[in-house]
């Protein structure tokens, strides 16, 4: 799957982010290939979300470089990221509650006619098409998204990258707020998008989600990458050990492992 000789879709090198004196992300390098899912895991405050916010343009790195298709790029804000086909589904979903589904999907990229007037019908039609694929039961196109259920809101957030043909997708805890059926729907969608050749960063606390979906797993600990492993080469316990102890499996002593298992 991930042919090493091929140019990676995303290559982040030596990324550093500091908040005041705290190093949230410290010299992190990570890459992602087309059609690949990278599971990004780690405890609270490990720096996963901050690293992803750098890629999505919500935060600028203090140093380091980002290469897309091997070309160095500068991503200063969310608009820049979108130009490179980087779309993000935030944990908070980042929906404006007071406007309807189509307005949210097209937020910042509205369809207008020649006079610059919003073409709400065209946006609604496009949104209906995408939503039909994501959640065929979705009917509330005229309602503010505030009145939708959690799963429906999630569908609206996912419709955005699908509508705009994302090449690189960042999903921050996509199933954290969902019920079992909806979680399964999201998992299927991730598999489908992967099939279409989209590269996906999957940030998750749910180790089972990650093992189910990811090709490679990167573990972060206190702002650093502990290690990046192929999913098929490791066990869940080994990855948990990396998350909790902050060391690659090879460096973990049997004593520490015993402690971990209580």
């Amino acid at each position: 799957m991930s042919d090493v000789a091929r140019t990676p879709l995303v290559d982040m090198r030596g990324i550093r982010v500091a908040f005041g004196g705290v190093h949230a992300v410290e010299n992190v390098s990570i890459d992602l290939h087309a059609g690949e899912v990278i599971g990004l895991v780690g405890g609270n405050g490990a720096g996963k979300s901050t690293l992803m916010r750098v890629l999505s343009g919500a935060h600028t790195a203090d140093s380091g470089e980002i290469l897309i298709d091997g070309q160095p790029v500068s991503i200063g804000n969310p608009r820049d990221a979108k130009v490179y086909g980087i779309e993000t589904i935030y944990q908070t979903l980042a929906l404006a509650d007071n406007i309807d589904a189509a307005a949210n999907v097209f937020l910042g990229r509205e369809i207008t006619d020649r006079s610059g007037t919003l073409d709400d019908s065209a946006m609604e039609a496009a949104t209906r098409k995408v939503m039909h694929r994501l959640n065929p039961n979705f009917k509330n196109f005229k309602m503010p998204v505030k009145s939708l259920s959690g799963g429906q809101r999630q569908a609206v957030a996912i419709a955005r990258p699908v509508q705009f043909n994302a090449r690189i997708l960042i999903m921050d805890e996509p199933t954290a707020a969902l019920g079992p059926a909806e979680t399964e729907q999201v998992r299927n969608l991730i598999r489908q998008l992967k099939q279409e050749g989209i590269g996906i960063f999957l940030v998750s606390h749910d180790i089972h989600d990650v093992f189910d979906l990811a090709d490679r797993i990167s573990v972060m600990y206190h702002g650093r990458i502990v290690g990046t492993v192929k999913k098929d080469d490791v066990t869940i316990d080994e990855v948990l050990g990396m998350i909790i102890l902050g060391k690659p499996p090879t460096e973990v002593t049997s004593q520490e492992l015993a402690q971990l298992h209580g």
């Binding site: 919500a58 404006a96 019908s121 039609a125 505030k146």
Partner: protein
């Protein structure tokens, strides 16, 4: 009733089809707006009964429309500011300041300093253009400090309230600047500053055609995309009712005649022999009301059909989402204040033209009326919610209360007490209904 599970169940089920609700749903009329029109009707009929038929007269309604226009124009801008989770307390002082500037331009600078004399044909337009440009600039300055300086809008505009009023006193030294340019005066209304009957009917007719065209076009668009469209009867009802309202308003305005003294003057000036009982000259729609209607339409278009408006509402709904969506939040906020400055300049034009002077307390406490109009019109301080049409109706409701109480002979302190109570009650009721309608 407040049981969480039962509420959730109710939300999941199909909403009960009450006849009135389903009727309104199929016409796609905003129920809140319909409720406000209902409340306004109750106020009007109530005052009419209490005043022994003095309220619902052409004369009173015509005056009401003129008196509402200045506050209504500013309220349309205040909606966008409050929707984006800010406030502007400076509009009253800014109105005074801009009114003074515009008065100085036409009464002192152009005629005396430039030596061009009074009542030049270009005076009114130059004055308005400078006033509007200056308003935009001052508004943008306040907006810049709010958006880029990170100072809360309440503080910035509270400062503005003091600064602009202070500047008036400093430069005007308590003087009244008068008179205004003859053409400029017309935008204040009055018998001369009105369209007359023929002009009013033409405007009314055009409005009816525009309403019909808009409804049919929106229907055609939705049909082209295969969306559900309103039933034909509902479309017809919307067209007929709105057109009737427009023509009714024109009829009322045309049934208010020039005051006898003015009519006599006019007759003498034009060599007409007055018929017994005096010359009856229909006044028609006043220019400030026409301005108010134009501003309302333009602002509604801006708020609902342009990117700018969409961004303002999304910022109000979730500023982070707007930012992550790639919207330039700061520039958008600054623009709402620049726009407010433009609208304040227009209102300053209406008020100085109507007074035919600029006085030092021009626009004093207008900020409170403007905010009250927006809020009575359903604008929420939580952000993200509010309509232009609602704010204009809010201004009309406020003015109706004031003018009705004047007819009943209530003094000014009593009026303030009633308006204050109505303001709080209206917002409380709205919050209650909103809680019930969402879960």
């Amino acid at each position: 009733m407040t049981d969480a599970t039962s509420v959730r169940q109710a939300a999941d089920e199909v909403p009960p089809t009450r006849s009135l609700r389903s009727f309104l749903a199929s016409t796609e009329i905003d129920t809140r707006l319909a409720g406000m029109i209902g409340a306004l009707a109750v106020i009007w009929v109530g005052f009419n009964v209490m005043s022994g038929g003095l309220f619902l007269t052409s004369r009173n309604l015509w005056n009401l429309s003129v008196q509402s226009s200045s506050i209504a124009v500013m309220a349309t801008g205040m909606v966008l500011i409050i929707v984006s989770r800010n406030i502007d307390l400076s509009v009253g002082s800014l109105l005074g300041f801009l009114g003074y500037t515009m008065a100085m331009i036409q009464a002192v600078w152009i005629p005396t300093n430039l030596g061009l004399g009074y009542d030049q044909p270009f005076t009114w337009i130059v004055t308005l253009a400078i006033g509007i440009g200056f308003g935009a600039l001052v508004g943008a300055l306040q907006g810049f400090i709010v958006a880029y300086g990170g100072v809360p809008s309440f503080i910035v505009t509270l400062g503005g309230l003091l600064v602009w009023r202070g500047l008036i006193f400093r430069y005007a030294q308590g003087q009244t600047i008068a008179p205004m340019d003859k053409t400029y005066q017309l935008i204040g209304g009055g018998p001369a500053g009105s369209l007359g009957d023929v002009g009013s009917w033409i405007i009314g007719g055009l409005a009816c055609i525009a309403i019909t065209w808009t409804v049919l076009m929106s229907n055609r668009r939705r049909r082209a995309y295969g969306f559900q469209v309103r039933p034909t009867w509902a479309m017809a009802a919307v067209i007929v009712v709105s057109s009737a309202a427009v023509l009714g308003f024109v009829w009322v305005a045309n049934n208010y005649f020039w005051p006898p003294a003015l009519a006599t003057q006019y007759a003498e000036a034009h060599g007409i022999t007055e018929p017994p009982g005096g010359l009856q000259i229909p006044t028609g729609i006043a220019y400030p009301v026409l301005i108010m209607i134009g501003v309302t339409l333009a602002m509604t278009y801006l708020a609902t059909r342009r990117r700018f408006g969409r961004y303002v509402y999304s910022i109000g709904g979730n500023p982070d989402a707007a930012e992550l969506g790639g919207i330039n939040v700061r520039r958008t906020i600054m623009m709402t204040y620049a726009l407010m400055g433009v609208l304040v300049a227009i209102s300053a034009g209406i008020q100085t033209a109507r007074l035919n002077a600029a006085v030092t307390n021009l626009g004093i406490q207008n900020e409170l009326d403007v905010i009250a109009a927006a809020v009575i019109g359903g604008t929420s301080f939580a952000g993200g919610i509010g309509t232009i049409a609602g704010a204009v109706l809010g201004a009309v409701v406020m003015q109706s209360l004031r003018s009705g109480m004047v007819l009943l002979g209530l003094d000014s302190p009593t009026q303030d007490i009633v308006v204050g109570v109505v303001l709080v009650t209206a917002v409380g009721l709205d919050a209650f209904l909103r809680r019930r309608s969402t879960r």
